[in-house]
Protein backbone atom coordinates (compact mmCIF):
# COMPACT_ATOMS: atom_id res chain seq x y z
CA UNK A 1 0.00 0.00 0.00
CA UNK A 2 1.60 3.31 -0.92
CA UNK A 3 -0.86 5.80 0.55
CA UNK A 4 -3.33 4.83 3.24
CA UNK A 5 -5.78 6.88 5.28
CA UNK A 6 -7.49 5.13 8.18
CA UNK A 7 -10.18 6.80 10.26
CA UNK A 8 -8.97 10.29 9.32
CA UNK A 9 -11.04 13.16 10.70
CA UNK A 10 -10.76 16.89 10.33
CA UNK A 11 -13.06 19.64 11.52
CA UNK A 12 -12.81 23.42 11.28
CA UNK A 13 -14.64 24.69 14.34
CA UNK A 14 -18.01 22.98 14.36
CA UNK A 15 -17.83 22.05 10.64
CA UNK A 16 -16.76 18.44 10.21
CA UNK A 17 -15.03 18.06 6.83
CA UNK A 18 -13.56 14.57 7.09
CA UNK A 19 -15.43 12.18 9.37
CA UNK A 20 -13.24 9.12 9.89
CA UNK A 21 -12.31 8.54 6.28
CA UNK A 22 -10.70 5.29 5.05
CA UNK A 23 -8.89 5.32 1.70
CA UNK A 24 -6.13 3.33 0.04
CA UNK A 25 -4.10 4.28 -3.00
CA UNK A 26 -2.14 1.45 -4.57
CA UNK A 27 1.32 1.59 -6.17
CA UNK A 28 1.34 3.25 -9.60
CA UNK A 29 -2.39 3.68 -9.52
CA UNK A 30 -4.15 6.93 -10.49
CA UNK A 31 -7.01 7.55 -8.11
CA UNK A 32 -9.47 10.35 -8.79
CA UNK A 33 -11.26 11.77 -5.76
CA UNK A 34 -14.52 13.40 -6.80
CA UNK A 35 -17.09 15.29 -4.81
CA UNK A 36 -19.02 18.52 -4.69
CA UNK A 37 -17.31 21.85 -4.04
CA UNK A 38 -16.60 22.21 -0.34
CA UNK A 39 -16.86 18.46 0.29
CA UNK A 40 -13.29 18.31 1.64
CA UNK A 41 -11.36 16.98 -1.36
CA UNK A 42 -8.54 19.50 -1.05
CA UNK A 43 -8.44 19.04 2.72
CA UNK A 44 -8.04 15.29 2.15
CA UNK A 45 -5.13 15.91 -0.23
CA UNK A 46 -3.45 18.36 2.15
CA UNK A 47 -3.62 15.93 5.07
CA UNK A 48 -1.53 13.47 3.00
CA UNK A 49 1.43 15.92 2.95
CA UNK A 50 0.49 17.41 6.33
CA UNK A 51 -0.20 20.87 4.97
CA UNK A 52 -3.28 20.42 7.13
CA UNK A 53 -3.01 18.42 10.35
CA UNK A 54 -5.68 15.76 10.70
CA UNK A 55 -7.48 15.74 14.05
CA UNK A 56 -7.58 11.95 14.30
CA UNK A 57 -6.76 8.79 12.39
CA UNK A 58 -3.68 7.49 10.59
CA UNK A 59 -2.19 8.91 7.40
CA UNK A 60 0.48 6.64 6.00
CA UNK A 61 2.74 7.19 2.98
CA UNK A 62 5.26 4.49 2.10
CA UNK A 63 4.52 2.89 5.46
CA UNK A 64 5.47 6.08 7.36
CA UNK A 65 2.96 7.62 9.74
CA UNK A 66 2.83 11.17 8.37
CA UNK A 67 1.21 12.62 11.49
CA UNK A 68 4.02 11.55 13.81
CA UNK A 69 7.01 12.41 11.58
CA UNK A 70 9.52 14.96 12.84
CA UNK A 71 9.94 18.15 10.79
CA UNK A 72 13.13 16.77 9.24
CA UNK A 73 11.63 13.42 8.29
CA UNK A 74 8.51 15.15 6.97
CA UNK A 75 10.72 17.21 4.63
CA UNK A 76 12.42 14.01 3.46
CA UNK A 77 9.04 12.44 2.74
CA UNK A 78 7.82 15.56 0.95
CA UNK A 79 10.74 15.22 -1.48
CA UNK A 80 9.04 12.01 -2.63
CA UNK A 81 5.75 13.78 -3.23
CA UNK A 82 4.97 16.28 -5.97
CA UNK A 83 2.00 18.56 -5.33
CA UNK A 84 0.17 20.38 -8.11
CA UNK A 85 -1.89 23.25 -6.74
CA UNK A 86 -5.32 24.32 -7.97
CA UNK A 87 -4.08 27.75 -9.05
CA UNK A 88 -0.51 26.58 -9.68
CA UNK A 89 0.87 28.56 -6.66
CA UNK A 90 3.92 29.62 -8.63
CA UNK A 91 6.29 32.00 -6.84
CA UNK A 92 5.33 35.18 -8.63
CA UNK A 93 8.63 36.98 -8.07
CA UNK A 94 10.60 34.15 -9.74
CA UNK A 95 10.99 33.13 -13.36
CA UNK A 96 9.62 29.84 -14.66
CA UNK A 97 13.16 28.40 -14.49
CA UNK A 98 13.62 29.37 -10.83
CA UNK A 99 10.17 28.04 -9.93
CA UNK A 100 10.99 24.63 -11.37
CA UNK A 101 14.50 24.66 -9.88
CA UNK A 102 13.31 25.45 -6.32
CA UNK A 103 12.84 21.86 -5.18
CA UNK A 104 16.08 20.74 -6.84
CA UNK A 105 18.12 23.44 -5.10
CA UNK A 106 16.67 22.43 -1.75
CA UNK A 107 18.23 18.97 -1.82
CA UNK A 108 21.72 20.52 -2.16
CA UNK A 109 22.90 17.41 -3.96
CA UNK A 110 22.76 18.62 -7.55
CA UNK A 111 25.24 20.79 -9.43
CA UNK A 112 24.04 23.91 -11.28
CA UNK A 113 24.54 22.10 -14.60
CA UNK A 114 22.45 19.10 -13.56
CA UNK A 115 19.75 21.42 -12.17
CA UNK A 116 19.63 23.25 -15.53
CA UNK A 117 19.35 19.92 -17.34
CA UNK A 118 16.60 18.60 -15.04
CA UNK A 119 14.62 21.84 -15.35
CA UNK A 120 14.90 21.65 -19.13
CA UNK A 121 13.73 18.00 -19.11
CA UNK A 122 10.79 18.80 -16.84
CA UNK A 123 9.68 21.78 -18.92
CA UNK A 124 10.01 19.69 -22.08
CA UNK A 125 7.79 16.99 -20.55
CA UNK A 126 5.01 19.53 -20.02
CA UNK A 127 5.75 21.24 -23.36
CA UNK A 128 6.82 24.51 -21.74
CA UNK A 129 10.41 24.58 -23.01
CA UNK A 130 11.40 28.04 -24.15
CA UNK A 131 9.50 29.78 -21.34
CA UNK A 132 12.34 29.60 -18.79
CA UNK A 133 12.86 33.34 -18.44
CA UNK A 134 9.16 34.30 -18.25
CA UNK A 135 7.51 35.39 -15.03
CA UNK A 136 4.26 33.66 -13.96
CA UNK A 137 2.33 36.88 -14.70
CA UNK A 138 3.50 36.67 -18.32
CA UNK A 139 1.97 33.26 -19.10
CA UNK A 140 -1.62 32.00 -19.32
CA UNK A 141 -3.53 30.06 -16.64
CA UNK A 142 -3.11 26.75 -18.47
CA UNK A 143 0.60 27.39 -18.92
CA UNK A 144 0.94 28.22 -15.24
CA UNK A 145 -0.65 24.88 -14.37
CA UNK A 146 1.83 23.13 -16.68
CA UNK A 147 4.75 24.93 -15.00
CA UNK A 148 3.28 23.92 -11.63
CA UNK A 149 3.31 20.33 -12.86
CA UNK A 150 6.91 20.69 -14.10
CA UNK A 151 7.89 21.98 -10.64
CA UNK A 152 6.14 19.02 -9.01
CA UNK A 153 7.86 16.42 -11.20
CA UNK A 154 11.31 18.05 -11.27
CA UNK A 155 12.46 16.13 -8.20
CA UNK A 156 11.21 12.89 -9.81
CA UNK A 157 8.79 12.07 -6.99
CA UNK A 158 7.14 8.69 -6.38
CA UNK A 159 3.77 10.33 -5.77
CA UNK A 160 1.91 13.12 -7.50
CA UNK A 161 -1.01 14.86 -5.85
CA UNK A 162 -3.15 17.05 -8.12
CA UNK A 163 -5.58 19.57 -6.61
CA UNK A 164 -8.25 20.43 -9.20
CA UNK A 165 -5.76 20.38 -12.09
CA UNK A 166 -8.33 21.31 -14.73
CA UNK A 167 -10.60 23.74 -12.89
CA UNK A 168 -11.14 26.99 -14.73
CA UNK A 169 -9.61 25.73 -17.97
CA UNK A 170 -11.18 25.55 -21.42
CA UNK A 171 -11.95 22.05 -22.81
CA UNK A 172 -8.88 21.94 -25.05
CA UNK A 173 -6.46 22.94 -22.27
CA UNK A 174 -8.27 20.50 -19.96
CA UNK A 175 -7.56 17.70 -22.44
CA UNK A 176 -3.89 18.77 -22.61
CA UNK A 177 -3.60 18.63 -18.80
CA UNK A 178 -5.36 15.23 -18.72
CA UNK A 179 -2.88 13.92 -21.29
CA UNK A 180 -0.03 15.22 -19.16
CA UNK A 181 -1.38 13.42 -16.08
CA UNK A 182 -1.54 10.20 -18.09
CA UNK A 183 1.97 10.76 -19.46
CA UNK A 184 3.38 11.39 -15.98
CA UNK A 185 1.82 8.17 -14.73
CA UNK A 186 3.15 6.24 -17.71
CA UNK A 187 6.62 7.74 -18.16
CA UNK A 188 7.53 8.43 -14.53
CA UNK A 189 5.64 5.44 -13.02
CA UNK A 190 4.18 7.61 -10.28
CA UNK A 191 1.28 6.93 -7.96
CA UNK A 192 -1.23 9.74 -8.41
CA UNK A 193 -4.19 11.18 -6.54
CA UNK A 194 -6.25 13.60 -8.61
CA UNK A 195 -8.83 15.71 -6.80
CA UNK A 196 -11.43 16.96 -9.24
CA UNK A 197 -15.11 17.63 -9.79
CA UNK A 198 -14.68 17.36 -13.56
CA UNK A 199 -16.14 13.91 -14.37
CA UNK A 200 -14.80 13.81 -17.94
CA UNK A 201 -11.29 14.35 -16.57
CA UNK A 202 -11.79 11.73 -13.88
CA UNK A 203 -12.95 9.13 -16.44
CA UNK A 204 -9.98 9.92 -18.69
CA UNK A 205 -7.13 9.83 -16.18
CA UNK A 206 -8.17 7.50 -13.37
CA UNK A 207 -7.82 3.76 -12.83
CA UNK A 208 -10.16 4.14 -9.89
CA UNK A 209 -12.57 6.82 -8.73
CA UNK A 210 -13.59 7.51 -5.14
CA UNK A 211 -16.43 9.84 -4.23
CA UNK A 212 -16.28 11.96 -1.09
CA UNK A 213 -19.64 12.78 0.45
CA UNK A 214 -20.52 14.00 3.94
CA UNK A 215 -16.97 13.51 5.14
CA UNK A 216 -16.76 9.86 4.07
CA UNK A 217 -15.87 7.86 0.97
CA UNK A 218 -19.31 7.13 -0.41
CA UNK A 219 -18.17 4.99 -3.32
CA UNK A 220 -14.98 3.61 -4.81
CA UNK A 221 -14.64 1.75 -8.08
CA UNK A 222 -13.31 1.75 -11.64
CA UNK A 223 -14.67 4.35 -14.07
CA UNK A 224 -16.90 1.66 -15.62
CA UNK A 225 -18.20 0.55 -12.22
CA UNK A 226 -19.02 4.08 -11.14
CA UNK A 227 -20.83 4.76 -14.41
CA UNK A 228 -23.00 1.70 -13.75
CA UNK A 229 -23.72 2.37 -10.09
CA UNK A 230 -27.29 2.85 -8.92
CA UNK A 231 -26.29 4.72 -5.73
CA UNK A 232 -28.50 7.82 -6.09
CA UNK A 233 -25.96 10.15 -4.48
CA UNK A 234 -23.15 9.03 -6.80
CA UNK A 235 -25.43 8.88 -9.82
CA UNK A 236 -26.84 12.33 -9.02
CA UNK A 237 -23.33 13.79 -8.83
CA UNK A 238 -21.79 12.18 -11.91
CA UNK A 239 -24.83 12.85 -14.05
CA UNK A 240 -25.32 16.35 -12.64
CA UNK A 241 -28.85 15.62 -11.38
CA UNK A 242 -29.70 17.58 -8.24
CA UNK A 243 -33.12 15.83 -8.08
CA UNK A 244 -31.43 12.50 -7.31
CA UNK A 245 -29.14 14.11 -4.71
CA UNK A 246 -32.03 15.87 -3.00
CA UNK A 247 -34.19 12.73 -3.06
CA UNK A 248 -31.42 10.64 -1.49
CA UNK A 249 -30.63 13.27 1.13
CA UNK A 250 -34.30 13.44 2.12
Amino acid sequence: MSIELAGVSKAFGSKVVLDGIDLEVHDQETLAVIGASGSGKSVLLKTIVRLIEADAGRVSVDGQDVRSLSREHLHELRRQIGYVFQFAALFDSMTVFDNVAMGLRRSGEMTDASIRQRVAESLLLVEMDGYESRLPAEISGGQRKRVGLARAIATRPKYLLYDEPTSGLDPVTTAVIDDLILRMARELSVTSVVVTHDMQSAYRVANRIAMLYSGLIRYSGTPDEIRATDDPIVKGFIEGRPDLLQGAAA
Partner: protein, 260 residues
Protein backbone atom coordinates in the same frame (compact mmCIF):
# COMPACT_ATOMS: atom_id res chain seq x y z
CA UNK B 1 -28.99 48.78 35.22
CA UNK B 2 -26.88 45.72 35.93
CA UNK B 3 -27.74 44.23 32.56
CA UNK B 4 -26.83 47.50 30.83
CA UNK B 5 -23.36 47.33 32.38
CA UNK B 6 -22.82 43.67 31.59
CA UNK B 7 -22.57 44.05 27.81
CA UNK B 8 -19.71 46.60 27.70
CA UNK B 9 -17.81 44.78 30.45
CA UNK B 10 -18.19 41.50 28.57
CA UNK B 11 -17.03 43.20 25.37
CA UNK B 12 -13.93 44.56 27.12
CA UNK B 13 -13.30 41.11 28.59
CA UNK B 14 -13.58 39.45 25.19
CA UNK B 15 -11.23 42.05 23.68
CA UNK B 16 -8.71 41.49 26.48
CA UNK B 17 -8.87 37.73 26.01
CA UNK B 18 -8.44 38.14 22.27
CA UNK B 19 -5.42 40.41 22.78
CA UNK B 20 -3.84 37.97 25.22
CA UNK B 21 -4.36 35.09 22.83
CA UNK B 22 -2.87 37.20 20.03
CA UNK B 23 0.24 37.93 22.12
CA UNK B 24 0.51 34.21 22.84
CA UNK B 25 0.30 33.32 19.15
CA UNK B 26 2.87 36.00 18.30
CA UNK B 27 5.22 34.67 20.99
CA UNK B 28 4.88 31.13 19.68
CA UNK B 29 5.50 32.38 16.14
CA UNK B 30 8.70 34.19 17.15
CA UNK B 31 9.92 31.11 19.05
CA UNK B 32 9.27 28.91 16.00
CA UNK B 33 11.19 31.37 13.83
CA UNK B 34 14.03 31.21 16.35
CA UNK B 35 14.13 27.44 15.96
CA UNK B 36 14.63 27.94 12.20
CA UNK B 37 17.89 29.88 12.78
CA UNK B 38 20.19 26.84 12.34
CA UNK B 39 18.86 26.44 8.75
CA UNK B 40 21.57 28.83 7.47
CA UNK B 41 21.71 27.07 4.10
CA UNK B 42 18.23 28.37 3.32
CA UNK B 43 18.25 31.88 4.78
CA UNK B 44 21.92 32.77 4.37
CA UNK B 45 21.91 34.27 0.88
CA UNK B 46 18.39 35.66 1.26
CA UNK B 47 19.45 37.98 4.11
CA UNK B 48 21.59 40.05 1.71
CA UNK B 49 18.69 40.40 -0.74
CA UNK B 50 16.36 41.50 2.06
CA UNK B 51 18.95 43.95 3.43
CA UNK B 52 18.89 45.68 0.06
CA UNK B 53 15.09 45.54 -0.31
CA UNK B 54 14.15 46.54 3.22
CA UNK B 55 17.09 48.69 4.22
CA UNK B 56 18.84 50.31 1.28
CA UNK B 57 15.57 50.98 -0.55
CA UNK B 58 14.21 52.69 2.59
CA UNK B 59 17.04 55.23 2.76
CA UNK B 60 15.43 57.94 0.58
CA UNK B 61 12.27 58.25 2.67
CA UNK B 62 14.21 58.04 5.96
CA UNK B 63 16.70 60.70 4.88
CA UNK B 64 13.94 62.95 3.53
CA UNK B 65 12.16 62.86 6.89
CA UNK B 66 15.38 63.32 8.87
CA UNK B 67 16.58 66.27 6.78
CA UNK B 68 13.37 68.24 7.23
CA UNK B 69 13.15 67.30 10.92
CA UNK B 70 16.64 68.75 11.44
CA UNK B 71 15.62 71.99 9.70
CA UNK B 72 12.49 72.39 11.82
CA UNK B 73 14.34 71.50 15.05
CA UNK B 74 16.92 74.22 14.46
CA UNK B 75 14.30 76.84 13.68
CA UNK B 76 12.09 75.92 16.64
CA UNK B 77 15.10 75.87 19.00
CA UNK B 78 16.13 79.32 17.86
CA UNK B 79 12.55 80.57 18.28
CA UNK B 80 12.41 79.12 21.82
CA UNK B 81 15.89 80.26 22.93
CA UNK B 82 15.70 83.86 21.68
CA UNK B 83 17.04 86.19 24.35
CA UNK B 84 17.03 83.59 27.12
CA UNK B 85 19.54 80.86 26.13
CA UNK B 86 22.74 81.32 24.07
CA UNK B 87 22.00 80.51 20.44
CA UNK B 88 24.80 77.91 20.14
CA UNK B 89 22.56 75.65 22.26
CA UNK B 90 20.67 75.08 18.99
CA UNK B 91 23.46 72.61 18.08
CA UNK B 92 23.00 70.80 21.38
CA UNK B 93 19.25 70.54 21.00
CA UNK B 94 19.38 69.42 17.38
CA UNK B 95 22.06 66.80 18.05
CA UNK B 96 20.64 65.43 21.27
CA UNK B 97 17.02 65.31 20.08
CA UNK B 98 17.87 63.89 16.70
CA UNK B 99 20.15 61.12 17.96
CA UNK B 100 18.24 60.15 21.09
CA UNK B 101 14.67 60.43 19.89
CA UNK B 102 13.57 61.76 16.55
CA UNK B 103 16.12 59.94 14.37
CA UNK B 104 15.23 56.43 15.56
CA UNK B 105 11.52 57.02 16.28
CA UNK B 106 10.57 58.91 13.12
CA UNK B 107 12.64 56.54 10.98
CA UNK B 108 11.07 53.59 12.81
CA UNK B 109 7.56 54.87 12.19
CA UNK B 110 8.31 55.60 8.53
CA UNK B 111 9.78 52.12 8.11
CA UNK B 112 6.83 50.57 9.95
CA UNK B 113 4.74 51.91 7.08
CA UNK B 114 7.13 50.99 4.32
CA UNK B 115 8.80 47.78 5.53
CA UNK B 116 6.03 46.44 7.78
CA UNK B 117 3.39 46.92 5.10
CA UNK B 118 5.65 45.45 2.42
CA UNK B 119 6.37 42.31 4.47
CA UNK B 120 2.76 41.75 5.57
CA UNK B 121 1.35 42.28 2.08
CA UNK B 122 3.93 40.06 0.39
CA UNK B 123 3.70 37.17 2.84
CA UNK B 124 -0.09 37.56 3.14
CA UNK B 125 -0.44 37.30 -0.63
CA UNK B 126 1.83 34.25 -0.64
CA UNK B 127 -0.38 32.71 2.05
CA UNK B 128 -3.70 33.23 0.25
CA UNK B 129 -2.29 32.10 -3.12
CA UNK B 130 -0.88 28.90 -1.55
CA UNK B 131 2.72 29.88 -2.30
CA UNK B 132 3.64 29.19 1.33
CA UNK B 133 2.05 25.73 1.04
CA UNK B 134 4.05 25.26 -2.17
CA UNK B 135 7.26 26.08 -0.28
CA UNK B 136 6.36 23.41 2.27
CA UNK B 137 5.71 20.78 -0.39
CA UNK B 138 9.15 21.54 -1.83
CA UNK B 139 10.60 20.70 1.61
CA UNK B 140 11.37 24.30 2.59
CA UNK B 141 10.56 25.56 6.06
CA UNK B 142 8.68 28.82 5.31
CA UNK B 143 10.00 30.29 8.54
CA UNK B 144 13.59 29.76 7.37
CA UNK B 145 12.84 30.98 3.88
CA UNK B 146 10.56 33.95 4.56
CA UNK B 147 10.73 35.05 8.18
CA UNK B 148 14.34 34.63 9.35
CA UNK B 149 15.96 36.59 6.47
CA UNK B 150 13.49 39.48 6.81
CA UNK B 151 13.84 39.74 10.57
CA UNK B 152 17.66 39.49 10.53
CA UNK B 153 17.92 41.97 7.67
CA UNK B 154 15.72 44.43 9.56
CA UNK B 155 17.68 44.07 12.79
CA UNK B 156 20.87 44.92 10.86
CA UNK B 157 19.50 47.56 8.50
CA UNK B 158 17.25 49.64 10.78
CA UNK B 159 20.27 50.85 12.81
CA UNK B 160 22.18 51.53 9.58
CA UNK B 161 19.32 53.61 8.18
CA UNK B 162 18.89 55.40 11.52
CA UNK B 163 22.62 56.20 11.63
CA UNK B 164 22.35 57.89 8.22
CA UNK B 165 19.13 59.62 9.28
CA UNK B 166 20.85 61.01 12.40
CA UNK B 167 23.69 62.41 10.31
CA UNK B 168 21.33 63.96 7.75
CA UNK B 169 19.06 65.35 10.50
CA UNK B 170 21.97 67.03 12.28
CA UNK B 171 23.25 68.17 8.88
CA UNK B 172 19.86 69.74 8.12
CA UNK B 173 19.98 71.59 11.45
CA UNK B 174 23.53 72.79 10.77
CA UNK B 175 22.74 74.09 7.25
CA UNK B 176 19.67 75.88 8.59
CA UNK B 177 21.63 77.38 11.49
CA UNK B 178 24.38 78.87 9.32
CA UNK B 179 22.03 80.09 6.62
CA UNK B 180 18.89 81.22 8.41
CA UNK B 181 20.03 81.84 11.98
CA UNK B 182 22.75 84.10 13.28
CA UNK B 183 25.04 81.16 13.98
CA UNK B 184 28.46 80.09 12.63
CA UNK B 185 29.67 76.55 12.05
CA UNK B 186 32.07 76.62 15.08
CA UNK B 187 29.21 77.85 17.27
CA UNK B 188 26.89 75.10 16.04
CA UNK B 189 29.60 72.46 16.58
CA UNK B 190 30.32 73.86 20.06
CA UNK B 191 26.68 73.36 20.97
CA UNK B 192 26.60 69.95 19.34
CA UNK B 193 29.57 68.74 21.42
CA UNK B 194 28.37 70.35 24.64
CA UNK B 195 26.21 67.48 25.93
CA UNK B 196 27.22 64.77 23.47
CA UNK B 197 27.97 61.34 24.91
CA UNK B 198 29.13 58.37 22.78
CA UNK B 199 26.46 56.37 24.59
CA UNK B 200 23.83 58.50 22.81
CA UNK B 201 24.76 56.80 19.54
CA UNK B 202 24.64 53.32 21.11
CA UNK B 203 21.25 54.15 22.63
CA UNK B 204 19.96 55.31 19.25
CA UNK B 205 21.18 52.19 17.45
CA UNK B 206 19.93 49.77 20.12
CA UNK B 207 16.48 51.34 19.83
CA UNK B 208 16.65 51.12 16.05
CA UNK B 209 17.59 47.41 16.16
CA UNK B 210 14.65 46.69 18.48
CA UNK B 211 12.33 48.61 16.14
CA UNK B 212 13.66 46.55 13.23
CA UNK B 213 12.85 43.35 15.08
CA UNK B 214 9.37 44.57 16.06
CA UNK B 215 8.37 45.86 12.61
CA UNK B 216 9.63 42.83 10.67
CA UNK B 217 8.40 40.12 13.04
CA UNK B 218 4.95 41.72 13.31
CA UNK B 219 4.77 42.11 9.52
CA UNK B 220 5.71 38.45 9.10
CA UNK B 221 3.22 37.36 11.78
CA UNK B 222 0.24 39.18 10.26
CA UNK B 223 1.25 38.01 6.77
CA UNK B 224 1.55 34.40 7.88
CA UNK B 225 -1.78 34.39 9.67
CA UNK B 226 -3.71 35.93 6.77
CA UNK B 227 -6.79 33.92 5.86
CA UNK B 228 -9.08 34.63 2.93
CA UNK B 229 -8.44 36.79 -0.11
CA UNK B 230 -7.43 40.30 -1.15
CA UNK B 231 -9.48 41.95 1.60
CA UNK B 232 -7.74 39.84 4.24
CA UNK B 233 -4.34 40.83 2.85
CA UNK B 234 -5.34 44.49 3.11
CA UNK B 235 -6.52 43.99 6.68
CA UNK B 236 -3.33 42.16 7.65
CA UNK B 237 -1.23 44.94 6.15
CA UNK B 238 -3.11 47.65 8.04
CA UNK B 239 -2.91 45.69 11.29
CA UNK B 240 0.83 45.17 10.83
CA UNK B 241 1.46 48.89 10.38
CA UNK B 242 -0.79 49.93 13.28
CA UNK B 243 0.52 47.35 15.75
CA UNK B 244 4.19 47.87 14.86
CA UNK B 245 3.80 51.67 15.11
CA UNK B 246 2.29 51.27 18.57
CA UNK B 247 5.02 48.84 19.59
CA UNK B 248 7.70 51.30 18.45
CA UNK B 249 6.34 53.88 20.88
CA UNK B 250 6.12 51.30 23.67
CA UNK B 251 9.71 50.20 23.02
CA UNK B 252 10.79 53.83 22.92
CA UNK B 253 9.45 54.32 26.42
CA UNK B 254 10.89 50.97 27.55
CA UNK B 255 14.43 51.89 26.46
CA UNK B 256 14.11 55.34 28.04
CA UNK B 257 13.15 53.76 31.35
CA UNK B 258 15.78 51.01 31.27
CA UNK B 259 18.80 52.72 29.67
CA UNK B 260 18.64 56.42 30.58
Amino acid sequence: MRRALEAPVAAVGRKALGLTAGFGRFGAFVLSAGRALPDVGVWGRLVIIQMARLGVASLPIALFIAGFTGIVLALQASYTFTGAVPLYFVGALVGKTMILELGPVLTGLALAGRVGANIAAEIGTMRVTEQIDALETLAYDPLSYLVVPRVLASIVMFPAVVAFANVVGVGGGWITSINLLDLSTPQFVRGLRLFFEPFDVQYSLIKAASFGFAVSSIGCFFGFTTQGGAEAVGKATTQAVVVSSMLILVLDAFWAVTLL
